[in-house]
Subunit: 142 residues, 4 copies
Amino acid sequence: MTAKMTPADIEAFLHAEFPQAFRTGGDISIESADGRSCRMRQRFNERMLRPGGTVSGPTLMALADFAMYVVLLSAIGPVGLAVTTNLNINFLRKGAAGADVLAEARILKLGKRLAVGEVTLLSGESPDPIAHVTATYSIPNA
Amino acid sequence: MTAKMTPADIEAFLHAEFPQAFRTGGDISIESADGRSCRMRQRFNERMLRPGGTVSGPTLMALADFAMYVVLLSAIGPVGLAVTTNLNINFLRKGAAGADVLAEARILKLGKRLAVGEVTLLSGESPDPIAHVTATYSIPNA
Amino acid sequence: MTAKMTPADIEAFLHAEFPQAFRTGGDISIESADGRSCRMRQRFNERMLRPGGTVSGPTLMALADFAMYVVLLSAIGPVGLAVTTNLNINFLRKGAAGADVLAEARILKLGKRLAVGEVTLLSGESPDPIAHVTATYSIPNA
Amino acid sequence: MTAKMTPADIEAFLHAEFPQAFRTGGDISIESADGRSCRMRQRFNERMLRPGGTVSGPTLMALADFAMYVVLLSAIGPVGLAVTTNLNINFLRKGAAGADVLAEARILKLGKRLAVGEVTLLSGESPDPIAHVTATYSIPNA
């Protein structure tokens, strides 16, 4: 599958359509997106920590959801109205304070009405995932 | 089951142990908690909206996760180290801009090592849920 | 919401369209179905046990999936092609050997394209659920 | 990680401890298991079909659950009492009538109390998954 939008296209679209998506000041960047998978990086900041100094669950859920939207945009082009219908997250390990969080999203199925994908969340350079997400997006009618 | 902590106990515990939990300036309050269920209210603010003016998914996931923790505290007393291991959310309807978000959490099983619950998320006065969550917490050894 | 099909209608439809659904010899019956919820009973048989003498996970998953389909039929009428897209199950307690398994399904959202529901699984007369399921069905275009 | 049991060890253990697990007459075989992942094959038989001639959901859920147990045995050795606590399945495509079903399971986290894994389900030679599962097992105390 060829990407319908490059990472730069996607960032431009998101900045124009959803300025809030980047309201955290550029903390999140799209490292790659090819129509089947994408890789996102959220730079470490103190706001992503929960008590105890580990990365909070809501931070991970929000990043995973965003990564799924980005890989979907790369697959189907600029569709502003796709919405998440289901998200399942397993929290596996603590994310280290000070480390960026990476999200690697992959499309499992791209249907006409639903897209399903999985997202692996990583902390810094460690190969062991800190969380794993599956999510479903509903795609509006063309 | 009798509650081990009242809503006031829980708020005091959370303020002392996890000041960040209320960093949003008192937006979230515990309306009730009885050892089996709880009801939380997140007052409307613009920050909870996503593009299009509806309540964002991460807002709902974070509130549901918090409500599960509050009902667990009311059931087992002050346990700072319980962690979410799994959270599954189905997004059902759009939450209205301007309306508070309510979370009604209920414990389905309270075991020695795991607690499982469900959370219904509501928008303002509407009886139709905007999202439904099931979540599992791992309870540290006594 | 008024039911589009009664329990007897649904059983007749299932017997005609999906004889396999009842191939276990009438073990499963529809106790009620009203367009919003339904209650199913699977009579105890040895085949539903796993090693250790408790009710097997696949038995519970299959019954929950079937209950969701039945409540959906009662809500929207005879639609043969609805398919499950997501099912999440939390196993809570052991189901007793010798006891029937009950499934109480409830629709959380009935949309044009997707229906979401939850199912509580019970063992015999015990009020404590042995499992809890949420499931999504995709509804074919009219 | 080194496997604690080979596929032959696991089959012998399962036959001795859980004869029911293979009651379908050897339809399911362990093609590989190495302490981190495993691959299972369920030979096609008519009983795995649902109306419409596609592989049934319960067949896929049962095989995925079994594959998670097998990879766990290969990782931690003969532990008869591990139980599934959560299983989430996304149904992606129809499995073809006549084709074997393959399950490729992979451990995402092996903790002292919980193991989390994912399972990709495939139909015959097709590379496109027909379902994707994440599951959590609770490991009894040593």
